[in-house]
């Protein structure tokens, strides 16, 4: 293991050394080892590359690198060849020999592995692919380049230089001011100015000097995975942000760090653990960091699968070893948080922004985004934001854009629009606390304030696209059930109110809705929002209210006409055989779990409506488009 780096000069010398080592092996094959690509078989692919390279005795000339998430999950496993920047997608272990013998040895491009867009155009270079070209990747810039388990890789691309600068050249207060001036707002969803929080925490009295620096990595919003990808792909950027925070907020006191991370993210826990140990070994964590006198270390706490623990006070209670129930915030956590000490909590993406701001300056950072933050940190949304673009969209993946990019730009220019020629219906942002926005709002610039104005919110950055086959009432039911399940139960309005909302929406989906139900939903929603203690309850009705606002006609159809236009709500749909299309192949009959289909070979089948359970299996298996759903 490397010796401790004692000073900023040591660090620069070490950087030169690792950079020189990298230069001697310029040719690199980068295999994406994010969760998405791993699920598509990236590890088997990497093993195949390793074996094939050693068979050809190429391992000294060509470096194989397992990197973090490249973002284009839809097309995994992804392989990028450096320095050319050639991108191959959906690569299988069987392709490896051909790649080495043709592409690597002779420079011949294998057409079938190139990305092809919906119009049939193919692209060779990663940065020419529209999905990447239309993004502004600064936080994710190094994700596809560095091996997340190698601190040398991070140092080679300039890592820990911002930390050295802060510790050598800046007073803690100056760092707080810099972050405040940058306009960085909390990426976990709240959008609170980070610099303001840091200053308040620094100013709060602490008798023994202890201040807690926490990273909230309990990314619970379904459909959001940007924090996971940062931790898996570039864990040192998060750690470096936290160390800078410790200096700014607590030096010369006794800062202590925690990362609270979801147990559903085992790979992120593992990579962060490795990174922390490397940072300790190199002397970026521990006593007297880079000779500055700062002492700081970080502990990992794994969550237990409770959504509410993403709420700051619930998270702190959970770290203390109790059930994660939120508490009232009349005393702010910056004054009395974890173990009643001043505590500063920021989200993963917020922390990862910090080294960037230090490295590239406030002027650069404020040139990106919306509004003016020169004398009011609430005056705009600055920097970039990573979104998880998922659902009914062609290019599922992680997308980083400047604040203020429009929904249309994200969904169509980067996301490639809706698959299967279907029509866009809505986009859901902000997770279970956010709302569903209709087509008429597609040109909305996305920032903290604009999203709130239209009844949604930024949240942590999940962006779920829906087409005409999504039922908005069913979606509202999904979110209400989710939140009713995740409510900690402390406040009656949240615990019982959500349960009642769930019963009403379920009734509507079952075709038993009453005329007064729609009004009842909005009245009850208001009570839940106003009378609950924490953000879970306060924002819980958002998915319901926004669908009521923008898609009211769907509720009315369910209630009055007993009709589900998206053909999702089982009680309101029937499956029948289209006689002219049915070839009598017997497949649906064989697969039907309720024996509702009768028919003989080469004769038209029929479905017994009394036995049909609307499971849709017949429609899934039919090759002749002979099942009608209405």
């Amino acid at each position: 293991m490397t010796a401790r780096v004692q000073t900023a000069a040591d660090l620069e010398a070490y950087r030169k050394k690792v950079q020189a080592k990298g230069d001697s092996q310029r040719k690199t094959i980068s295999v994406c080892a994010g969760t998405g690509c791993c699920a598509f078989g990236a590890m088997k692919l990497a093993a195949a590359f390793e074996q094939a390279l050693s068979e050809r005795k190429l391992q000294d000339q060509i470096q194989l690198r397992l990197t973090g998430c490249h973002g284009f999950c839809e097309r995994g496993p992804l392989v990028v060849f450096h320095p050319e920047g050639l991108l191959y997608q959906r690569v299988k272990p069987d392709d490896v020999s051909e790649i080495l013998d043709e592409t690597i040895a002779k420079g011949v491009i294998i057409e079938r592995l190139l990305y092809q867009d919906a119009q049939g155009q193919t692209y060779q270079k990663e940065d020419e692919v529209p999905f990447y070209k239309n993004q502004m990747r600064v936080l994710l810039a190094h994700n596809g380049l560095i091996d997340p388990t190698s601190i040398d890789d991070y140092i080679a691309v300039g890592g820990y230089r911002p930390l050295a600068r802060v510790l050598n050249e800046m007073k803690p207060e100056e760092v707080c001011t810099t972050i405040k001036k940058s306009g960085l707002r909390g990426r976990g969803g709240g959008g609170f100015p980070a610099g303001v929080k840091w200053e308040s925490c620094r100013a709060a009295p602490s008798q023994d000097g202890i201040r807690y620096i926490i990273c909230n990595a309990d990314e619970g919003d379904p459909g959001a995975f940007m924090d996971r990808s940062l931790m898996e792909g570039n864990p040192h950027s998060v750690i470096e942000g936290m160390i800078i925070g410790a200096w700014a907020i607590a030096h010369p006191g006794r800062p202590e760090g925690y990362v609270y991370i979801r147990h559903e993210y085992p790979l992120a826990v593992e990579r962060l653990g490795i990174a922390l140990q490397q940072a300790r070994d190199m002397g970026f964590l521990g006593k007297n960091i880079l000779g500055s006198g700062l002492g700081f270390d970080i502990t990992i706490n794994r969550g237990g699968g409770a959504f509410v623990c993403g709420e700051s006070t619930a998270l702190m209670t959970s770290i203390e070893g109790f059930v994660g129930e939120p508490r009232a915030k009349h005393i702010h956590t910056v004054e009395s948080g974890l173990y009643d000490k001043p505590t500063n909590l920021n989200n993963v993406e917020t922390w990862a922004n910090v080294p960037l701001i230090i490295e590239r300056g406030v002027e650069w950072y404020t040139s990106i985004g919306t509004g003016d933050v020169s004398d009011n940190p609430w005056g705009g949304s600055k920097g970039t934001k990573i979104f998880a673009l998922v659902g009914k969209v062609n290019n599922t993946g992680l997308v980083e854009v400047p604040m203020g990019a429009t929904l249309r730009h994200i969904i169509y220019d980067i996301g490639g629009g809706i698959p299967g020629g279907k029509k866009f219906k809505a986009v859901q942002t902000g997770g279970p606390s956010g709302g569903c926005l209709p087509e008429s709002l597609l040109d909305l610039p996305v920032d903290f304030d604009k999203l709130t104005e239209v009844g949604s919110m930024m949240g942590s950055g999940g962006m779920i696209v829906m087409d005409e086959s999504t039922c908005m009432v069913d979606l509202a039911r999904y979110f209400i059930n989710f939140l009713a399940d995740e409510s900690c139960g402390k406040c009656v309005t949240c615990r019982e109110g959500l349960r009642q909302l769930g019963i009403i929406v379920k009734r509507i989906c079952a075709g038993e809705g009453r005329e007064e139900d729609i009004q009842l939903l909005s009245d009850l929603s208001q009570t839940v929002a106003e009378a609950s203690l924490c953000a879970l309850g306060n924002t819980a009705p958002n998915p319901l209210l926004s669908t009521l606002k923008y898609f009211r006609e769907e509720y009315e159809e369910h209630v009055k006409e007993k009709k589900c236009r998206a053909k999702v709500c089982k009680a309101l749909i029937t499956f029948t055989v289209i006689e002219e299309n049915c070839t009598g192949c017997l497949l649906c009959k064989k697969k039907c779990p309720s024996q509702a289909i009768s028919g003989e070979k080469k004769k038209v089948h029929s479905i017994d409506q009394g036995k049909c359970i609307q499971c849709g299996v017949c429609n899934d298996v039919c090759k002749f488009n002979a099942i009608r759903v209405e």
Binding site: C73, G305, A306, G324, T396, P593
Partner: protein, 153 residues
């Protein structure tokens, strides 16, 4: 859980009650669930009320107080999976194995669980069987995934 193993876990966290969550996670990793006798011992060793451990183990969805099956099937219920048809997958497995979500088959072969999101949205709807991810599922494709299990029965 045998006393030696339990002691190793408790010592790892210096027997601090604040580490209860981590201790329970380690026990569950070893045993696949939280055995009654073991959590009684933890309560005694750490000097915390058993009720507090019970509260933790029922509050956090990752804990199970019942033994889980030989195979564990997790269906992702994230929003992206939901809009692509995840509920139909759960219903299908419930029907095929006659086991409600959150429970284990009487022969202890299969536990069916749901999770709020595993963040592999590009593969949705997604089913994880014994740690292996199966993406872009529909009920008909599920039968193929479960074929090895069905054979053993």
């Amino acid at each position: 859980m045998d006393a030696k193993k339990l002691n190793t876990i408790l010592d790892k966290y210096r027997r601090e009650p604040s580490a209860l969550l981590a201790i329970l996670q380690d026990i569950q990793d070893e045993e696949n669930y939280l055995p009654k006798d073991t959590i009684r011992q933890v309560a005694g060793e750490l000097g915390v009320p058993l009720a507090r451990i019970y509260a933790l183990s029922t509050f956090f969805s990752s804990f199970s107080l019942e033994p889980r099956g030989k195979h564990i099937c997790t269906v992702c219920m994230g929003t992206a999976c939901h809009v692509r048809g995840a509920p139909r997958l759960v219903e299908h497995i419930e029907r095929e194995f006659d086991v409600p979500a959150g429970q284990t088959t009487p022969d202890m072969q299969l536990t069916l669980e749901t999770v709020n999101c595993v963040g592999a949205c590009a593969l949705g709807p997604l089913v994880i069987l014994d740690g292996e991810y199966h993406g872009n599922m529909n009920p008909a494709k599920l039968d193929r995934v479960f074929r090895p299990l069905k054979k053993k029965e």
